[in-house]
């Protein structure tokens, strides 16, 4: 499928924003400018950008701790993300949830989870709700290969297939689960081949090519939207900064990292846009500058925002505070 120039530029703008947001966090934490816990998404932008253009706003997303790129793609304002990561009142949850637990239902982000594998069952429930309500909305559940070895994933995949639910499982295969190469965690070579065991289609795409990802997604979304059930989409990619910010990545062979970096999806897509004449260098440089500016503005807004006040502590534990126990 060919994409219009406009869509391709939107993809690039998203990728660049994701990259800039990640770079800025990395710089800020690295230099001690601020503190926050963070699982970097740098390197996986193509997947999230493709989701960004392929999903409707009313489509839903369930993602993980490594969600910065996914959240940006789905349209969560950067202030909310940074704010949550840094524990400020303007965070998505006023700083109460933290990096791993960001939700923004208006943008369709229903859950971010810190428990590997805990997202798929919830995605199934969201899709059940859509089906019961007669909506043609799709729920995308995004996770890594590591999640596919959890029992929770299995139970959810089985249910989604059984009931032809409008779910798309997007597996961002970055070749590692924490410090463990995912090839050491399964016998199968390709995680997409797990799908057959549920009676659902599994496809494998180059996760560093946003157009390839978008094509696979569109097909999966279309099927799901029309009642033809879930698809498992494996997107092969890499995480450039390791598992968590500060990871020394000693467990990654140098040549593997080098070749992954050489396949960096952001410059690669930039080159593609230039090569195909979709955009000029000037235009793209401007997009990059805008992204950097947008990130900086968000960061400064967040940095000057308050930390949540103590009375937030007893709020939102129950719908109505209960006197005892507290």
């Amino acid at each position: 499928m060919t994409r219009s120039a406009e869509v391709q530029r939107r993809i690039y703008a998203l990728m660049v924003l994701m990259k800039a947001a990640d770079d800025r966090l990395s710089k800020g934490i690295g230099t001690g400018e601020f503190i926050c816990v963070y699982w970097p998404s740098r390197g996986q932008e193509a997947i999230a950008a493709a989701m960004g253009i392929s999903l409707r706003r009313d489509d839903q997303l369930v993602t993980t701790y490594r969600g910065l790129h996914d959240l940006i793609g789905k349209g969560v304002p950067l202030e909310e993300i940074y704010g949550e990561m840094m524990g400020r009142t303007l965070g998505a949850s006023r700083g109460k949830g933290g990096t791993m637990h960001i939700a923004n239902p208006e943008a369709g982000v229903m859950l971010s989870t810190g428990i590997v594998g805990a997202g798929p069952p919830v995605g199934v429930g969201l899709a059940m709700a859509a089906k019961r309500k007669g909506l043609d909305r799709v729920t995308v559940v995004s996770f890594g290969v590591g999640a596919t070895t959890t029992g929770s994933f299995h139970e959810a995949a089985n249910m989604a297939a059984l009931w032809d639910l409008p779910v798309v499982f997007v597996c961002q295969n970055n070749l590692y689960a924490e410090m463990t190469p995912t090839r050491d965690t399964m016998k199968l070579e390709h995680v997409a081949d797990r799908a057959a065991g549920y009676g659902m289609p599994g496809v494998r795409v180059d996760g560093n090519d946003p157009l390839a990802v978008a094509t696979a997604l569109d097909e999966a979304l279309n099927k799901a939207r029309h009642g033809d059930g879930p698809t498992f989409v494996e997107c092969v990619t890499f995480r450039f900064r390791g598992h968590y910010f500060g990871d020394r990545m000693r467990y990654i062979p140098k040549d593997q990292l080098d070749s992954a970096l050489a396949a960096d999806p952001v410059p690669r897509f930039r080159a593609h846009l230039l090569d195909t004449g979709v955009a000029t260098d000037e235009e793209l440089t401007r997009v990059e500058a805008v992204a950097a500016q947008q990130v900086e503005t968000a960061l400064q807004t967040v940095m000057s925002a308050d930390a949540p006040s103590i009375d937030e502590l007893d709020r939102d534990v129950y719908a109505t505070p209960i006197r005892f126990p507290v």
Binding site: V62, A92, S93, R94, K96, G97, G98, H101, I102, A103, N104, P105, M110, L111, T113, G114, I115, A118, P120, P121, V122, G123, V124, G125, L126, A127, M128, A129, A130, R132, K133, T139, G151, S152, E155, A156, N158, M159, L162, E312, R315, D316, V317, Y318, A319, T320, I322, R323, F324, P325
Partner: protein, 335 residues
């Protein structure tokens, strides 16, 4: 209010039926809950409301609760069934890390007002993996509510409240109570607020604090105490463990100055420990005797019926514990 005699099973069925009837956000999911296989409180409901409102699921406890959570985030009111409480470990992660915490972690942007119905199976000689009473686990998880009804009336009223409550509720049924009868209001609007204990029998000499099946042990013990020992025991049925109605229980014990806590959960680190700890703090210096606890013996539940019968509380054990509080001497810890 119109009232009808029915079993606990029928009362719970009526609560589910009326909830399904009046609110289309309500749906049920679980293993073997739909007709023609269903035999518990869900029997007949899929026939009446269809299999998309009363859904049989694969054997997937984690995903049953996880799916309920997803649907609840999206505004529905799912009632998930974990067939037997011993299986709840499999769903524990979804309960504690998603359901209980979402409201807080998202500052109220998402919530999971699910109801998880489950059933304590003890007393059927099915052995240690089909007999556990684990509500203490969920009392310890901020964000969860925990409900354990003792009578058909309470079952109906509390289940109705749980389903429409805005917080995730664990609703613990007891197989040995499912066939017990009592009067039940038939009004669909009948609900018992969560967090209100019920004085099932008034008394003056000692308070028996209990919930669920133990209420019946306590009532039987109270009758024996009255008839054979001229002791007037007050029976306080907590009905919900979270919220815990501290006021009712403290004001009763303040009057009687003696208390026995009774439950089917094992005593060690069980719900009774929290109750005792609260009472000793609230009523320091006002008690005539240490608060006694009667709980299940600290052993995996044996299968052989003769052994199993020794494990759970019984009216006789409650009577003995009450008598110890009346002797006003220092009581041992091995009651």
């Amino acid at each position: 209010m119109d009232s009808k005699e029915m079993t606990m099973r029928e009362a719970l069925n009526l609560a589910l039926d009326q909830a399904l009837e009046k609110d289309e956000r309500v749906f049920l999911l679980g293993e073997d809950i739909a007709d023609p296989g269903a035999s518990g409180p869900t029997a007949g409901l899929s026939t009446k409301y269809g299999h998309d409102r009363v859904m049989d699921t694969p054997i997937s406890e984690a995903a049953i609760v996880g799916a309920a959570i997803g649907a609840a985030i999206d505004g529905l009111l799912p009632v998930a069934e974990i067939m037997i409480m011993d299986f709840i470990g499999i769903a524990a992660d979804q309960i504690i890390n998603n359901a209980a915490k979402l409201r807080f972690m998202t500052a109220g942007r998402t919530t999971a007002p699910i109801t998880v119905r489950t059933q304590v199976y003890g007393g059927l000689a099915t052995g240690a993996t089909h007999s556990q009473t684990l509500e203490a686990w969920f009392m310890h998880i901020p964000g969860m509510k925990v409900i354990v009804p003792s009578t058909p009336r309470d079952g109906k009223g509390l289940l109705t409240s749980a389903i429409f409550d805005e917080d995730p509720c664990l609703f613990v049924e007891t197989i040995r109570l499912q066939g017990q009868k009592g009067p039940v209001p038939t009004d669909p609007d009948f609900a018992i607020p969560l967090g209100q204990a019920d004085v099932k029998r008034p008394g003056t000499d000692v308070t028996l604090i209990c919930y669920g099946r133990s209420v019946h042990d306590a009532l039987a013990a109270a009758a024996t105490l009255q008839d054979e020992h001229a002791v007037s025991a007050e029976v306080v049925d907590l009905r919900t463990l979270v919220p815990l109605d501290v006021d009712t229980m403290v004001s009763s014990v303040r009057r009687t100055r003696r208390a026995v806590v009774v439950h089917d959960a094992v005593r060690f680190a069980g719900p009774g420990a929290e109750i005792v700890a609260t009472l000793q703090a609230e009523l320091f210096g006002e008690l005539e005797a240490p608060v006694e606890r009667v709980g299940a013996r600290f052993v995996p539940t044996p299968a052989a019926a003769a052994l199993e019968a020794q494990v759970y509380p019984s009216p006789a054990r409650v009577v003995q514990a009450a008598q110890r509080t009346l002797q006003s001497a220092k009581a041992g810890i091995h009651g």
